[in-house]
Structures are given as C-alpha cells and as structure tokens.
Amino acid sequence: MSSATPATTQNQSKPRWERYVPVYGFPVVNSFFVVLSLLVIVAFVLTAYRELAGLGPVSGMNDAYGWGIWKTFNVMVLTALGSGAFAVGIAAWVFRRKRMHSLMRMALLTSFLAYACGLLLLGIDAGRPWNFYWMVFPWKWNLHSPLAEVAICMSIYAMIPLAVENIPPVLERLWYFDSRLRPVVTIIERRLHYFFPWIIAAAYLLPGMHQSSLGALMLLAGERVHPLWQTPWLPLLYLGAASFMSFGCVAGTTMLCCLVWKRAMDMEVLDEAARITAWLIFGWLGLRLLDILFRGALGTAFHFDRFAAVFWLETLSIAIGGWLLVRSLRFHDPQPMFVGYVLSSAGGMIYRFSPTTLAFRPNPEALYFPATIEILVSLGFISLGVLGFLIAVKRLAILPAPLQEWYDMASYFRFRRPYIRWTGYFKFGFFGEEESEASGSD
C-alpha cells in the first residue's frame, strides 16, 4: 500500500494531505484574538478574587450541588472533547490506520490545550489547593478513590506524555528557524524518538484510565443520579463517549480550519475518520440502550419530565449525527459530515454533563445555576485554550495540507514578507531548499 502512487501531488481534483503546514498569511492578532484575550484577562482577575473570597461568593454551588461547571463542564466535558490524542492516536498507532497520522498533530494539540485548561480550572475549583502537594507522595494516595485517580492520572498525563508528544512541531520549527540549531535539534529528536514507544503507550493507558474514572466518580453518588444515567457501565460509557466526541472534535476542527484558512480537504482521510466515528457512535449507542433496557430503566425515558427531555435530546443528536456521518460517506460530502460531527459531539457533551448536573438530584428543592462570575471564568479558560490553538497553528506546522501548500508558504515568506524575521516559519530568505542533512552546512 505504502508508495503505490508516486504522482499523487499532481492530482489536483483530489487533494491529498501530505505535510503539516503552518497557517501563513493571516496575522495572529485580529479582532477575534483581542476579544479572546480580554476574556482571558477578565477570567484571571476574577480568579484572583475567587482565591480571596472563597467559592461561595463567585459561584452558584451550594451544599446540595457541591460541584459546578468548572468541574462538570470544563473538566468532565471538555477533556472528553480533548481526548483526541487518545482516540485518534490509538487508531493511528495501535490499529495502524495510516491516514489518521495526518490528523495526529491536531489531535495532540487540542488534547494538550483542553487538558491544560481543564487542570488549571481544577486547581482553581479546589477549595484548599495548597494541599495538592500530597500528590508527590504515592503512599498517601487513596488508590480506591476515583477522584484521586482522575486528579493524579490527568496531571501526569498532561505534563509528561501529552507535553512530550507535542514537542516535535516545536523542534521542527527550531530546525527551520536557524541552521545553527540544527545539530542540537537533531540530537534531541533522536533521543525523543528512542523513548517514544513508552511515552506513546502511556499516552493511551493513562487517558483510558482517567476518562473511565471520570465516569466512576458518579457511581458513589448512587440513587441521586437519575436511573437513565446511573449504571455500573458508567466508566465504559464515559470512555466511549470521549472516543467519538474527540474524533468529532479533531476532524471537525480540522474541517473548520480548512474552511476558515482556505485549505484543501483530503476526503480520503476525512472519510476514514468519519467511518471510525460512525462505528464508535453506533457501538456506543447500542451499549447505552442495551444497558438501559437490561436495567429496566427504559420506562423513565417516557415520563414527562426534564430528565426524559435531556435523555432524548442527547440520544437523538448523537444518533442523527452518526446517521449524517454515514450519509456523508456515500457522497464524500464535507457538509453533512461537519454537521454530523457537531451534532454527535454536542450530544456527547450533554451526556458527559448529565450525571453530575442535569440528571443529578440531591434533593427535590435543590437548584444549581452557575453564577455570572463562574460562567466568565469558565469562558475565560476556554478562550485561553482557543488562544493557544490560534497561536500554535499559525506558528507551528500543525494543520495537514497538500504538498503544494508547503512550497506556497516558502515563496510567501521569501517574496511577500521578506522582512519577517521572528514571526515567519523560516529563517529570513529561506526557500525550503538545503533541507537534506548533507548540505546543512549553511
């Protein structure tokens, strides 16, 4: 299969993603960027206030709903969207779906940002964060606690395997940036590659553990979680939801980027991603419905209450999303595919949000609605992730593109922006020549 078609680049009608190419020709700072930065600043200021005033004055949390959106949305939901490094990575490295490698850098980047922002907010949400230092004493851990598992495993994952997996694009940029750095970069890269199998394997084991433990968190809450959601299978369902949601996030974001920055889409890669996602979705839906059936909870889905409404909203949007994905495969049509990703991921988000919030019934009178400050901080940390993403795709080679895009970028920096020294991808005047190790004596 490998090199059967040597002349793929010439095939203009069917673009193939063959190289990661940074987004060029668009300034990093634009009005959207400024708005996001303002949101981040507001969130930082409010965070400082929260650290002084405590959680009560800034949030809608109360004795009945001890957890608010910082945990239940920014961590539970957004890290599921950010499990791309896990799900896409397993498809690419373990099941050797070679085409998925084109999406790998997107997956790694979105994962890292989602986890980093989630973890920051997890620290802000904790009432006594200074006691996190117990994390360095493994014998003090409560190994039976799903929360300990989540907190420890997530931090280790984001700080070691995920961060390391994101180093290659940075090194690559350094390599192109200055020829004096090349020997060092090459040495570091070689070291890195040596450890990669262990790091990548950890990058699949750890999220597998903590994404399922996120589901296990609510097991202890017992009957207070509505029977449509409370099941011993919660860990597996959480993991499954994370898998298809993250595929949706990675592929959907890539498509959106292609649209915004006018990139060609490789329908072969996208089709394969959609096919995998559709399988994941229908497998997951089957498991979920069987579980509800066997526990005899199906009746509650036909009550006329908010729980049934949430259930149907979530199930239908996931199912319709899956159906759209399958349809898009027949016509290789990016439009229903994108809508399919959006719908299924939105449904998955509702699913991940429900057990802790929408379907959590601590007592009949209790209510929770996030306070304004709470929402602003939550938004601010999402903006932080988006900011990071925008900077990264414009400064590093993250987005996949046809080979031609690389040459276009090289000539762009040479002829249209020759004065750019620090922000361009290449060293001044570099044209993408002198790439082989032999002639790198510059």
Binding site: D125, S145, P197
Partner: protein, 309 residues
Amino acid sequence: MAITRRELFTRVGKGAVPAAVAATVGVDTLQAAEPIPVPSAAVGLLYDATICIGCKACVAACAEANDTPADTRRDFLHQAPTDLNDVTRNIIKLYKPEDGSEFSFVKRQCMHCLDPACAAGCPFQALHKDPETGVIGWTPEKCIGCRYCTITCPYHIPRFQWAGFNPRVTKCELCRHRLEQGLKPGCTSVCPTGAVIFGPRPVLLLEGKRRIQSNPGRYYQDRIYGEHDNGGTQALYLSHVAFEKLGLPELGPESVPARTLRWQRRFYQYFALPAVLYAGLVQVIRKSIKGHEEEAHEREKRTGLRAQL
C-alpha cells in the same frame, strides 16, 4: 491491517488472559459482599426518635463542644440553623406529615459508617476512619477542598465552607477531642431525656434490641437502623416512623463503596491489569513506529522535504 490488529489482540491476550482467568475465578468470592470489619473499640451513638422531645439542647452543646460560633445567620439573633452547614455538625429536624399522622424529630449527624463512602472517595485520605474507634475524622492538612465527600456521602453529611480563602469541611467527628480526654460527646452529655446515648457499638446494639423487645410494636420494623444498613454504621437509630422519612435511605446491607466500586477496585488491584495493557501497547507501538519512520523517510527522499514525524 487485519493481521496487525490480530497481532495486537494476541499480544495483549497473552498477558491479559491469565489475568482475566484469575479475576473470573475470584469473581464468586468477590461478588459476595465482603464482610466489613468492625473496629475493635468501635464507639457510637444510639438515637431513639420515640424519646426525643426536640429541645435542641444537643445542637447548642455540639457547637460549644466543637468550639464553633453559634449559627445565627437566619435572624441574626437566635442559634437556629436550618440544616447541617459549615458551622453545624448536628441538627434536630422535624418530620411532620401533612395528613396529620405521627410526627417525629430526628437528630442528624455523621453515621460513622463501617465502610464510609466519604473516605472511599477522598483523594488523599483527609477523611479517614480511625482503625480503633472507627471515628471518621477530617484532617485539614490533607484536604484539597474538592467537595467530593459532599457528593458521595449517602446521608449528605459533610458540608463545605463556601466563604473564605481557607475553607473547611465540617462534619461530626464524634467529639474525638473530648473522647481523648475521657469525656463524653457534647450532644449525649446534655440530652435531658436520654434520647441520644454514647457507648461502644456492641453495647448500643444490645440496648437497642432490649428496647425493641420490651416495647413490641413501638418501633418501625422492629429493627435498628445502622446494624446492617449500608454495611453497618456506628450511629444507630430507633424510630416509630419509617426511616426513609427521617432522611435515612434504605441502602441495603451492602455498603455503597463496596456495591458501586467493585469493578473499579478489581481493575486496579495491584495495578496488574494496567501493567499488562501497558506492556502490550509498548510492543505494538514499537512496531508501528518503525513502519511509520520508514515511510516518512521514503517520503523525505521523494519530496526532498524534511520528514515530519
């Protein structure tokens, strides 16, 4: 493709199958409720709702014994908390049905479960069951303020302090500081009718059974709540109305953590299964990386552009 996938399964299978066999052999023994050990010097409370007159002396005494300020937030005059909260470890509540049938008071405080859900979830063992007395105490130096305990406790006992930069988790700790000095808990020492008494758990159980026997028909279901419920608790209840009405849910004889975290605990036992998975993954990925690198270098030769891995 198919071959590589099969290869993955066999690789993982080689290690996982023995592990799975071991697990399934052990299932029968693990499936049965594991008996929960009762601490050697387990102490507790026995509350009898049929005797309680609702004077709330114990509420005031509890605040005094624990050196907490009186909660006057309701009318800024009286110590009248409406529920357990960040300064209230003990509360008397009234259950009064609308149809005019029997009413009852109920004293709510920590049940000191034999297998506590709060401690099962607490990440760094800030909530910890004393191995001797069985009292579940809170250690401020280990608490990260995650509030998981307020979600896991089936009786909804621990309360988080929502104001301030140094919040505490408040729950009845059976006046462990007083027990150390040889004193009785605050609440039991002031109760005018003896509705709540303190003692070693076996003695309290005997006393409860004696009361049930000498007053046939007086007590709900003729049983003590907490003898077996939720795996057994150290605070025991007698009542003339249904326990559920008093906020004591029917949880069955198995404790909440044992019932809900069984599979979770088995999966992580000795970290054996994760370790096997990890080893299998490393093997498969090693091979994939080799293939991927070869392909990338081939492409480098073809395009003249540096390989991107």
